[in-house]
Symmetry: C2
Subunit: 268 residues, 2 copies
């Protein structure tokens, strides 16, 4: 279903569009989402930022849509940080049933210390073309050993990820289809907002309805029905791969959405 090719080395001197840029300008902006996110979780010193930036710039890679970055059962020996694109964590059952258990957006990391466990219990796939960076275990451990705030920021990352995972559990277990999809859209918008990927209450929606179905535990058909319902209710417009939430407060009410689990406004 999902190819598992080794993602190609990307070379840091190219933008997503393929244009040549001066290194000093380009690199900073490329890894900026990660720095920004960590800095919200824990204020970082200039030195911490710089050392992390260097490490990130040396490991930049790309992957195409549908490609696995890492698969269930693979050993882990590095930390991956998302620079652009949408990814998901997913698990499958032997008979092919698939559940997306989380999305990964720019600035976020695959579990920072996952290498402490022997192998991956789930897979991570690119849902769109993505740019990410890979920091080897030893390098990463050096970074966090050298700076307490940086270590805590990655800790927080994992904890927030954990909280999101719990919210997904109640979403799948106790919300009905309409609430479930509404909740997912609320979460997407609120997670993309701090990365600057939301204008007004609009964002791109680059994934297929099949992916949305796998994320909400529904069949494609029923997901589609539910999207129709959401459109008919006037809460959203979903067209041309763009999601616009026309009445965010109403959508949040309908979804029983309460954003505290996202810890977006966390300060030290």
């Amino acid at each position: 279903m999902h190819d598992h090719h080794a993602p190609q080395q990307a070379g840091v001197s190219y933008t997503g569009g393929g244009q040549l840029m001066p290194l000093s300008t380009l690199d900073r902006s490329q890894v900026d989402p990660v720095i920004r996110r960590l800095n919200v979780l824990r204020p970082l010193s200039m030195e911490a930022r710089t050392s992390l930036e260097y490490a990130m710039l040396e490991g930049i890679q790309r992957a195409g849509a549908g490609e696995d970055l890492i698969s269930e059962g693979d050993p882990v020996d590095s930390v991956r940080l998302v620079l652009s694109g949408w990814l998901c964590r997913y698990k499958t059952l032997e008979d092919g049933r698939r559940q997306i258990v989380n999305f990964l957006f720019p600035g976020e990391s695959c579990d920072a210390h996952a290498f402490l466990l022997s192998v991956m219990d789930h897979s991570i796939a690119a849902m769109t073309p993505v740019v990410y960076t890979e920091i080897k275990r030893a390098r990463f451990e050096g970074l966090v050993a050298a700076d307490r705030a940086l270590a805590e920021a990655f800790w927080c990352e994992t904890l927030v990820n954990n909280a999101i995972q719990r919210e997904w559990a109640i979403n799948l277990g106790r919300r009905v289809a309409f609430e479930r999809v509404a909740h997912l859209f609320c979460e997407i918008i609120e997670r993309l907002r701090p990365v600057g990927m939301v204008e007004g209450n609009s964002c791109v929606m680059p994934v297929t309805q099949m992916d949305l179905a796998d994320a909400t535990g529904l069949s494609v058909v029923h997901l589609n029905r539910t999207v129709q319902e959401l459109r008919a209710s006037g809460l959203i417009v979903l067209r041309d791969r763009t999601l616009t939430i026309t009445d965010l407060d109403a959508l949040k009410d309908a979804a029983l959405f309460s954003p505290s689990y996202l810890q977006l406004y966390r300060r030290a």
Copy 2:
């Protein structure tokens, strides 16, 4: 629904049954599940064990069935470790719908570094009478700062917890009721086994069907139906608050259970 009284201070010189015991004998055995579990995740030095044991013995507390140890929205300033009894993490929606998102068994910890976040995103309740210990933030940070293996053990704890959470997501999203309940029973048995709470393939099942329903995202009635089905299939016997799995391999097959996510056999 769930009371939220401050759990009473327990006094370390009493056993669960209330008998007086010599301190030196009693204490070790009481906190043993935690040491054993951490030691499986990362081999601990004698010093690390001892310092942790001291810290644990000073903070021992009890809670009654149904009581919240900590509730959604509460600030966190300590780490809690389970010594005996069954607990659960749960979240509720405004209208009362409740989802248990995980169980907590003896030896396990509430997220070790949860105090890095501002407030709890979920509640933790005792499903049976429990004994646990509470270590204040500063004390805990001292412990993990002093011993790298200990810090890594707690890291692993969180990561394993995370993996379990993901497995629950696919359980709720993609397994049908029969598989779902079967999977929960498999998980319970395999998580209780290393703590010595399983004899053969039997363990106590001290929680109500309502709790099991909230854990599997089903209604009580449908959970009950499903339990009947499991009994009728000859895979389990559930009677007198005791669960016996008569054919564990068959139950695992039916549940599409693969234990790797539990990381039970993790070695450094």
